[in-house]
Symmetry: C2
Subunit: 329 residues, 2 copies
């Protein structure tokens, strides 16, 4: 099934079930009002949501209405955890190669992961608000999962069983703030403004055979200012699958329902597939010609992130954001 | 007023108002059931909680019962943000001096802060569960604030107005996992298991003149295995006050209601005051004699963290935790 949260003036939005083709939706009122509520009590509530989903898909839901992604908050407008991996080692290799740095051996066996801010996510059509263009504004197209309760010490295989939903992510990054933050060693902080998510979160069964072994084998499209710049596959080259990423979190703590775990920027070895963040394009330019040529984003720029199935149908709906200043003129 | 959350089998606990002397409590039923709910709608709900608090303090609340800290979850058993500063530069100086490293000049003007996991906090009397003693188990006694909604671009002075509550913290750290994580640059992750909080969160007015300019001027006591090892004052030597820490978060994003912001390990220049984490004791030993002598915590060890007012009355109640293995024999 497919779930979304509709803007209703509240902090958590109103849970809606969305039809498979993203054409119609139905409030989940009577089952659960908020997505976190459904995640908190998944075994009891998800069969009821599933039933509504089937009725909706069959065109038989009485109070269905046209689905409008502009009405969506992030599926979880705020969450108790947003842990983002950097699971595509190709991305790390490129960025390091561009500055003549080695990739430590441990990066191939131990996932890189940072704890992100999760109190104020952006909806799929909300502006990316940044105080200054000088911060080096970049998008990052990713895939993320939402978990149920998973206990400390979980194995990667067990962790896969705890995945409830998948979403797309725009993990906006402020590149010019990153070097100083990484040098401090405490991780990203000011360099990561509000993360945005796709209109719709979907259960793994919606993905069929494309969801295999904790990896999603469908192309992720990134369109910057109307031009497609990336069509990368997050499947085969994902160095650590989602079960491994969750197990990484679970080494020393429990992972509680509603935790969001990200893949990191999707990146493929075949450069002809393009890029899922500008930093990678700049790394390639540096490797090829000694210096980056592509500039970061400017106010007014747009970014569109979407994934389609084999029939060309959008699975999660599109993230479509515009970059905007904090204090508009 | 003083607020706590009682264990009731739910994920968020049941909101109770606690009397100033911590002797009695009263369910806030009819006003709000969860603390996050009160924070989400503070202007409307806090006057009602305040009224109940006054009735309780006057011994006139009809259904008051004896307050029992063992019944408490963390005031917020899960939160949308846990951002922990390292605002006592003395701590950083000591740790760096012990390994002959300089403190970068920027550390005196730009706060160190990491994003912590916030989906699974420990209650004040819950065990600290750690898979292995080899991880180097340490406590960290801190002060934290809980905020209301604070917008991006906030100034430090404005940010002070957004502080709703204060609490004590045991920011448990796994010291032997930290060097490798800091080397990766992505910040603490596995090195930070579930953070614990004091039984009670209090509004700033409960602290009177001890709360000044975003700093709390009362001694914070740390008792390890029954022996007082620290009585440090988090006030005068806090390099960055809480308004500055919140403004640091707010540089590139909004800070939403219920965000928890920590001071970092409280540390004083006067070594006779002792220590608020074992790592600091070890740093002092290294500076004095070339090597650390004090070992980290073992299973069965206890830690007690408490703060008393000028009359010797406990303000927040005590954090009292025992270190325990993940799989008890």
């Amino acid at each position: 099934m497919k779930l979304a949260s509709y803007k209703d003036g509240s902090r958590d939005g109103q849970l809606v079930v969305v039809s498979r083709d993203l054409s119609t939706a139905h409030y989940a009122t009577g089952i659960a009002t908020r997505l976190q509520q459904a995640l908190d009590d998944w075994n009891f509530l998800s069969p009821q949501l599933q039933e509504l989903s089937q009725t909706l898909n069959h065109g038989k839901a009485r109070h269905a209405f046209a689905f409008d992604p502009k009405m969506c908050t992030a599926p979880l407008p705020r969450a108790y955890q947003w842990a983002d991996g950097s699971a595509f080692i190709n991305h790390v290799e490129l960025v390091r190669k561009a500055r003549n740095a080695e990739v430590p051996e441990s990066f191939y066996t131990d996932p890189l992961m940072y704890q992100g801010g999760s109190d104020d996510f952006a909806g799929p059509r909300d502006d990316v608000i940044v105080p200054s263009e000088d911060f080096g504004i970049d998008f990052e197209a990713e895939v993320a999962v939402v978990t149920g309760d998973i206990g400390m010490g979980v194995t990667p295989d067990e962790a896969l069983e705890g995945i409830r939903l998948l979403m797309l992510v725009n993990d906006v990054s402020l590149r010019n703030l990153i070097p100083a933050e990484l040098a401090k060693g405490f991780g990203f902080f000011q360099s990561k403004p509000a993360t945005a998510f796709s209109p719709v979160a979907v259960t793994p069964d919606e993905l069929g055979a494309s969801w295999q072994g904790g990896r999603l084998h469908l192309d992720l499209e990134s369109v910057w200012n109307g031009k497609r710049v990336g069509l990368c596959n997050p499947g085969p080259e994902m160095t650590f699958h989602f079960g491994q990423l969750i197990a990484h979190i679970g080494k020393t703590r429990n992972v509680r329902a509603g935790s969001i775990v990200g893949s990191g920027t999707v990146s493929n070895k075949d450069w002809s597939r393009g890029y899922s963040c500008i930093a990678e394009k700049r790394a390639i330019e540096t490797i090829e010609s000694g210096a980056p040529k592509t500039e970061f984003m400017r106010f007014g720029d747009t970014i569109r992130i979407e994934m389609k199935d084999a029939d060309g149908a959008s699975i999660f709906g599109a993230i479509e954001q515009k970059i905007a200043p904090l204090h508009a003129a």
